[in-house]
Amino acid sequence: MTLLILRRFIGFILTLLAISAAVFFVMNVLPGDPAMVILGIDSTDDARAALREQLGLNAPVIWRYFQWLGDAVQGDFGTSYSFRVPVAGLIAERLPMTLALAGLATGLTVVLALVLGVYAATHHGRAGDWAVMAFSQLGIAIPAFWLSMLLVILFAVTLRWLPPGGFPGWDDPVAALRALILPATALALVQSAVLARVTRSAMLEVMRQTYVRTATATGLSPARVMWRHALPNALVPIVTIIGMQVANLVTGTIVIENVFYLPGLGRLVFQAISNRDLITVQAMVTLFAAIVVTANFIVDLAYLWIDPRLRSRQ
């Protein structure tokens, strides 16, 4: 099994490298002249030449790529052109916010999806099942940012229970939590729609297996049979979908941060776009893509932990 993990790990590293190369290519080679992009069309030739000198854009592309990669691995993502501070610092500032939002949303998603999915499977064919399926269909079709607005209209504008956006800082944990509830809920509702469906069908599949009967025949309670024998076996497809959802989570977090004016990585990337701050955008896109790939790698490892049968295969 160690060999298996090693192979996966090497694949993971290679993918990360490929991502960094792809992003670098799009942002440095495609536009032709990054200096033109940063300074705009009205800039003078001299100004652009000076910028090129300053940013080291005259060196050959491959050299620049390895330079950037080498620095990035050590934690140096360059200096933001518009903010005039190291990009790494900018990211470090905003990261806790984004992690908190993503974490809270994921927690809510998993709990909601598992509960709904198991419920639908155990009430298969009856009203509860249809209700969950309907919820799932709607959840898949609803844009997260629209749902956010609806939640804001209900809870902030009409009821005035929660703030419509912004973040008061971490000093007051209660206020901080209140600011995160609506954004996390909007994300969670949309994400759990797909996951609930997958949970339900995976559970239905598992519940037909003989070992579920064996467990019942041994005198175990229905709850125990469901949660300790059935669900663990349903986890493989569920975890697969969670892995696939990470890309959606990253996208969703970026969008939601912009809807709720939360000072996280999502807002940062948009500020960078408006400022034509290629360096920052490059670092952040690489980071986001790396997160997606890493999550999938962790999912691959999780399979090995969940299902012992996979440990000895090639």
């Binding site: 942002m27 536009p31 079709a141 629209w146 609806l150 504008v157 419509p164 969008v255 990337v269 776009i273």
Partner: protein, 271 residues
């Protein structure tokens, strides 16, 4: 044999949305981009069934033209990405060996880049524009269709009559045309409807964030982005565009599910 419920509901919704989009090409109650500041925030009336927005523009007309734009973008992007992806998938299945491996690895790799990330990159470099949005959406469809096409095609390549054709000397291109494509058509079509739904959502998100359709062109996503600043003033403006997006996406999803059920009776029992 009675068609499944989701097929009926799905095609109705899709027809509704596409019909509205098509209609907007020739007629709409008002000019969607006409600004009459004096008429802002009008409540629903006979002349303006859903009222007017913050610049006095008719909401219904905006929704109709928005429908047309959203559909067109989603359609173009998905068809573009879909055709490239399907071609790659067919190529991979026909060629086999390292080509197939390479194409699949590339597809897996592309999954790390959601449409939004790609659009962000393009927007930073080239500035936000409609074209960038289309390219971004098309780009993420390529690996999806490559996978679907390859999986279906690979199955066909293992079948007896294909092996027979090969030993009779038929070239791979000919086999692909005669045998593979007809069998791949069904899953690809189902995937198309599902990806349309995804495409509509993606376009809405991109336009909402300012990375897609640019003002003054109406789009559902952009209408929502405008409405967001007015949530306390005019919450009703936020409802309609979102509802339209949801209906369109729901329609395509149900249609895709319905098509899949019809095409594979075995699957139908498992729901």
């Amino acid at each position: 044999m009675r068609p499944p419920a989701n097929l009926i509901v799905g095609s109705t919704l899709v027809a509704l949305v596409l019909g509205t989009a098509a209609l907007s090409l020739v007629w709409s109650p008002h000019d969607a981009t006409r600004i009459v500041v004096a008429m802002k925030f009008q409540p629903p009336s006979w002349t303006h069934p859903l009222g007017t927005d913050q610049l006095g523009r008719d909401v219904v007309s905006q929704l109709m033209v928005g429908a047309r734009n959203s559909m067109a973008i989603a359609l173009i992007a998905v068809l573009l990405g879909g055709s490239i992806g399907t071609a790659l998938g067919l190529l991979a299945a026909a060629a086999g060996g390292w080509i197939e491996e390479a194409v699949m690895r590339l597809a897996d790799f592309s999954f790390a880049f959601p449409a939004l990330l790609f659009a962000i990159m393009l927007a930073a470099v080239f500035g936000p524009s409609l074209t960038n949005a289309v390219i971004a959406i098309a780009f993420i469809n390529i690996p999806v269709f490559a996978r679907v096409a390859r999986a279906s095609a690979a199955q066909v390549w293992t079948r007896g009559y294909v092996l027979a054709a090969q030993s009779a000397g038929r070239g791979r291109l000919a086999i692909t045309q005669d045998h593979v494509i007809p069998n791949v058509l069904a899953p690809v079509t189902v995937q198309l409807t599902i990806e349309f739904a995804v495409g509509i959502l993606a376009e809405a998100a991109l336009s909402f964030l300012g990375l897609g359709v640019q003002p003054p062109t109406p789009s559902w996503g952009r209408m929502l982005s405008d409405a967001q600043t007015l949530l306390y003033l005019a919450p009703q403006l936020a409802i309609w565009p979102g509802l339209c997006i949801m209906v369109a996406v729901l329609g395509f999803n149900l249609l895709g599910d319905g098509l899949r059920d019809v095409g594979d009776p075995m699957l139908r029992r498992r729901r």
